[in-house]
């Protein structure tokens, strides 16, 4: 029996960081307001320093159970995707299992991915359901990336917001669900999106907190999040259209046969350029970042939830999902709700 997405809910922190707040913090940027608006974000939610990605994930899980009348006992496996975990070990998934009252008969594990993480998680959940015979896999994708961004890193502070999504992947007795996948990884570009210090390779030291200025005037340190914006933009344009075409070829579909596209909500300018390259009409691409920003591995399920709510994503449609980011890594699939 094929795996499919049965339900999605999400949770956002309360604190809002609006564009007005941003331009107060970076008054020199107001000269380029029109260009900033091309990014497509008007406000984003920022997590409190004492809240972790697992905390947001737990709230998303609770929202899922309540909104869709799902019982914790139904969960066979919990997958938790994040870039920030509670401890080096044990897994945050263990903490989440207990807090969500999921029975101890449930398998649970973390995996470390960013913006490609949701689609990767769908792939793993599909494998568990269709190969291992599990019935319900709970996929929680969560981000508190803003806690790792340097206060003076203008570009990242504009783009990113925090949030978590909980998605239930189940089986059903039809022949349609989650299609095949295209995956990709290029470790040669690992340093394009990175926190250099604080792991086993480069433990935190005095030099970790030395400020560096990038050529575009952003400030960061080796202990903070770093993204080479131009390099990642180039990566997105090179990788995403090719990945979409590879998947269509694999599924023997024409691009016109896809009813809706939900790309990782990296930024609107990049998505619009990808859309133009692929010659997809504007109404076939659903975006939801204006009020939440780029929430990393939570962007696709949040956008999908809103697409369903708005009546843009409907049962029976072919919906192409494409994620890409840290790794660098990428993945795409086609789902039928």
């Amino acid at each position: 029996m094929p795996a499919y997405i049965k339900a999605i809910s999400y949770h956002l922190p309360e604190n809002v960081f609006s564009n007005d707040d941003f331009f107060k913090a970076f008054p020199e940027s107001i000269l380029h307001r029109d260009n900033y608006m091309k990014i497509g974000v008007k406000e984003r939610r920022i997590v409190e320093k004492n809240i972790t990605a697992s905390d947001l994930g737990i709230e998303a899980g609770k929202a899922l159970f309540k909104e869709h009348d799902i019982k914790p006992e139904e969960i066979d496996f919990l997958l938790f995707c994040a870039l920030e975990f509670d401890y080096p070990f044990p897994t945050s998934a263990s903490i989440i299992q207990e807090k969500l009252n999921i029975p101890t008969t449930c398998g649970a594990t973390d995996y470390n991915l960013g913006c490609s993480g949701f689609v990767y998680g769908l792939g793993m959940a599909k494998g568990m359901i269709e190969s291992l015979g599990l019935k319900n896999v709970l996929l929680i994708t969560s981000s508190t990336l803003t806690k790792t961004i340097h206060d003076k890193d203008r570009s990242s502070r504009f783009v990113f917001g925090d949030g978590a999504a909980a998605t239930l992947i189940s089986n059903r007795e039809t022949d349609e669900g989650i299609s095949s996948f295209v995956f990709g990884t290029d470790g040669k570009m690992a340093e394009k999106i990175i926190i250099k210090d604080g792991g086993a390779r480069n433990p935190i030291s005095e030099t970790s907190y030395l400020e560096n200025e990038t050529e575009n005037g952003n400030i960061s340190t080796n202990a903070n999040f770093y993204m080479e914006g131009v390099g990642v933009f180039h990566f997105g344009l090179k990788t995403v259209p090719a990945m979409v075409n590879d998947l269509l070829l694999k599924e023997q579909l024409n691009i016109d046969e896809i009813d809706l596209f939900v790309f990782h909500q990296a930024n609107l300018f990049l998505i619009n350029t990808i859309r133009t390259k692929l010659k997809i009409s504007e109404e076939k691409v659903f975006n939801y970042m204006e009020l939440v920003g780029n929430t990393v591995s939570a962007t696709i399920p949040i956008a999908l939830y809103e697409a369903i709510k708005a009546g843009k994503a409907k049962p029976g449609q072919k919906i192409l999902l494409a994620g890409f980011g840290v790794g660098l890594s990428w993945s795409a699939t086609i789902i039928r709700l």
Binding site: I39, E215, V230, F269
Partner: protein, 77 residues
Amino acid sequence: MSIEEFATQLESEFEDVEPGTITPDTNYKKVNGWSSMHSLIIIAFVDVNFNVILNGSDIKSSETIRDLYSIILEKSK
């Protein structure tokens, strides 16, 4: 697309630049208020119009619009 058309059309993509600012010999990174967003606008414009994806080194190694145009022509071969 001629180099003059390239300069004019690129200028219209930069919403915060006065008309007539960008010519083939303009050192585009010295245009008032240059930011990383302008690099993204150039990369997107060139990709859509020339089917060439410029990278960070292309932007870094070029100074004028003419330099950029030469890189595009070279990569189009």
